[in-house]
Amino acid sequence: MYFYKVLIVSILTGLTSVVQAQWNNPYPAASAGKNIMYSFFRERPKTLDPARSYSSNEYIFVAQIYEPPFQYSYLKRPYELEPLTAVSVPTPVYLDKKNRRLPANADKEKIAYSVYRVRLKKGIQYQPHPAFAEKDDGTLYYDGVDKNALDKIDDIAGFKKQGSRELIASDYIYQIKRLANPSLQSPIYGLMSQYIVGLKDLRTRLLDAKKTTGNPDLEKFSLSGVKLIDRYTYEIKIKGKYPQFIFWMAMPFFSPMPPEADRFFSQPGMKDKNLTLDWYAVGTGAYMLTVNDPNRKMVLARNPNYHEETYPAQGEKNDQQAGLLKDAGKLLPFIDRIEFSLEKEGIPNWNKFMQGYYDQSGISAEAFDQAVQFTRGGDTEITNEMKERGIKLSTSVATSVYYFGFNMLDPVVGGSSERARKLRQAISIAIDFEEFISIFRNGRGLAAQSPIPPGIFGASDGKKGLNDYIYDWVDGKKKRKNILAAKKLLAEAGYPEGFDRKNGQKLLLHYDTSGTSPEEKSRLDWIRKQFKKLNIELVIRNTDYNRFQEKMRKGTAQMYMWGWNADYPDPENFLFLLYGPNKKVGLNGENASNYDNPAFNRLFEKMKDMENGPERLSLINSMLEIVRRDAPWSWGFFPKDFSLQHAWVKNRKSNLMANNTLKYLRLDPELREIKREKWNKPVAWPLLIFILLLIASIIPAVIAYRKHERQAAL
């Protein structure tokens, strides 16, 4: 009797637990309530090597693991650099041609070199890694690892011995040499070789060595522009004055690379096992990569050797009120483990977020109406459904620009003639980017007044920042000029009502693009409609992206749309998109419109090396006036990033320049568990009904069969 009682109680308990458990939980039950953050990635990273990595989907991982000497302040705005592994952010020392020291305010023409001396904090340790494991005699344990031993190892966890060592200045020097390594094809080698003294020469020597020895040992090669001062100090000497160089030093390209790690992964047999620096990072950062399955899951775990770093105590005015300073002074990082799952499709991604299985999410176009609503004043806020769930919305204008460009080499829309300029201005008025943002981006963007996005030095608000070739200032607000103004300009350009005054033919222009999605088709229809306002016939030349790029390189495109994501928060990184010597055609630069105005170029050359201040601002304003008048772009828009976080995610503040922000986030896993339980109760009764229906449908079939079998043959 007792046995049956126990059995019944067990079954009931089991059933209750099954009913209460989250059947749709994609994570193991053992992880419930743990300090683990759950996130996702859309495509597998191509490389995690800091010398090569240059895209945001790679920086999600790379920036948490590798530490350049400087980082962007998490809370302060405008964006500001602060030391990370360095003791301080250095001020460059200027030298003349004979290497004599110049004063800080020396004329740019006199400055032949700038020297950045970086002093590192002592005692910073690398993450535990087999590359550092040592034998009793002090030699590296896995140096010359036996090929047979390697056969039994499938991933980095297969190396049982691990070690660590202190971060030293020569690790940074080693990484700078790696930028010149021809086998790595670092994307910034081209740019850096123009500045870092001796980098070009190192590349030549490495190319020669590659032909004879295959993979040259970088430690045996000198780099004249980079000097080791002592164990914790190094110097970088660059040509001329280039204040933006310090921003590059805050990017993963300038992270330390221990030569042991490079040697470890260069051993025979490692590559055959996909064991390379492309896939296995070795850093000093707050997190280390413990699971690297880019086809399914990437896991970052707290680095047990992480150096002392505390949550910032200073931020913007509203940060205190927003609760962003509550953790000031506490040791970082807060989260133990971050699990990223590969999630390619938007629908599952959004549903998992709504079920509480992802802690943060962006907002896809399909989910926008469910997540965000517009207030009467035109501001955005989250919907009541989101509010009830405790979800918070963060918005920020991205340090990016999407622009509609004219090819300045084109005989119709290009050139510096009055005719072409007025034509471009007319088109710029006609293309209503406010409407574009409203239709295609659910209001997530700001129509651009210039190439410089808000928040970057040189961008101005209100009337001061208005592009008065396109907009009027009416009742304290900017207002796009009336289409009649555009038509007037068009007539002045020699195309009254869209007809060429010379030959009487209708003006026919070409828009070059790539993309065949339904969304792209409606975008193209919209662009055609904008030109229709001026009675201009627009022909869409749609090709695949490869051909589109080829047209841009050859300068055969007429009008196009493109974008730029800032490398660093400086106006130079946007204005260089219109700098003549940076043209795409012939020079392979990023100036896709091939705009080349000598006056603009002269001002750019002067402005780019200046410190932020009234003088620089005045130059920038003059440059903006030139480009607004010339209108090589129709300016486009600055995208606005919208992201959602659950109530259990703390300390989240958008920082578009910093990539190593996961260490600042804090979770409340208990709250997450309660919410998940509440939101994911399994609904099992439809299954029961389905089974009953199945049985019910079998019975008539059985009856019919029996009847059929009993029937006499006719």
């Binding site: 059947w23 495509e43 191509k46 994307p187 499709e345 549903n351 079920q355 490869n546 019919a704």
Partner: protein
């Protein structure tokens, strides 16, 4: 039979060369090695030197099919086609453009593909055969008419609809299974339920309608009447006699695709985040990774040829009159 199989395998060599040549031509008609380098190196700050180095490192700096600078056999062998194709015949797939070993990736990713494809295939076939037999048994009745209508309706619906509906109902509304994802070992089971279920349901319409016609062809033959006259029950007749004779056309379609099961499902894997070979192929096409595309097409062709040989062999098992010579 062994001589037949060996002969068939030898026939496969020119077929594989042809498939490889066709893939190569189609791929390089759309993409040039420069395009591939650009896709891999990204869009920012890519220099012509970086492109040349990328091509040289991966052997894409050679002419495509014919090297006019070389003489004799080297004019054919020192080309992208030869250098990237010959190793395939010893199943050495080489490296992807991002440096990963393709063979290793295939070995790793075939298991998730199989985990979905095998249960979907087996349960799907059994269900289709049973459902088709049910329709054949009730032929000419309302059950048959509505069954066929249902089958046509089901086969007319896109797989995407099944996926979205399945995810909406099973995961979003009823919270019964995870909406997407994958895990290793037994933990993978809960992720497989929904894609397998959708795979089976979406295949019922086409499968049962096809098999129904095979049964109907058999069911009116003399041996069925004889069997019934002998006093066998309808079920015995259907399962022991009709099914066996209908197996030859069924096997034609079924056995050939068995080896292809491990190639995975392109759509299903992408939607459910399953790290199988289907999503591997889709990713490679999107990233213009010729090495992976070529390897997957080669492997697909090889497996299909193998499947056809298996089909021939299976005929001899279900029909003793068939002899392979």
């Amino acid at each position: 039979m062994i001589a037949y199989i060996i002969r068939r395998l030898f026939y496969a060599i020119p077929i594989l060369i042809g498939v490889n040549l066709l893939t190569f031509t189609l791929f390089f008609m759309v993409n040039s090695p420069d395009d591939m380098a650009r896709v891999h190196l990204g869009v920012k700050r890519v220099t012509p030197e970086a492109i040349e180095l990328w091509k040289a490192d991966r052997g894409y700096d050679k002419p495509l099919l014919y090297n006019s600078k070389e003489k004799g056999i080297r004019s054919l062998s020192n080309t992208i086609f030869f250098q990237h194709s010959v190793s395939l015949f010893v199943l050495d797939f080489g490296r992807a453009d991002d440096g990963r070993d393709i063979g290793r990736d295939i070995r790793q990713r075939m298991w998730p593909s199989l985990a979905i494809a095998v249960p979907t295939f087996i349960v799907g076939i059994l269900l289709n055969i049973t459902f088709a037999m049910l329709l054949a048994f009730f032929r000419g009745t309302y059950v048959d008419v509505w069954g066929v209508v249902l089958s046509v309706a089901m086969m007319s619906i896109s797989i995407m609809f099944y996926i979205i509906l399945g995810q909406l109902i099973m995961s979003k509304l009823w919270h019964l299974v995870p909406i997407s994802g994958y895990d290793t070992g037994l933990r993978a089971l809960k992720f497989l339920i929904l894609p397998v279920l959708i795979g089976i349901v979406s295949g019922i319409g086409a499968g049962s309608r096809l098999y129904r016609t095979f049964y109907l062809e058999e069911i009116n033959k003399d041996y069925v009447r004889t069997a019934r006259a002998k006093g066998l029950s309808s079920l015995q007749v259907l399962f022991k006699h009709v099914l066996r004779n209908a197996m030859v056309p069924i096997l034609t379609g079924v056995v050939a695709i068995i080896p292809l099961l491990f190639m995975g499902s392109l759509v299903m894997e992408s939607f459910f985040g399953i790290p199988g070979l289907g999503s591997y192929t889709i990713d490679a096409i999107n990233q213009q990774d010729f090495a992976i595309v070529r390897a997957m097409v080669f492997l697909g062709s090889l497996l299909y040829i193998f499947g056809l040989v298996l089909t021939d062999i299976s005929y001899t098992l279900v029909d003793p009159r068939v002899r392979l010579e």
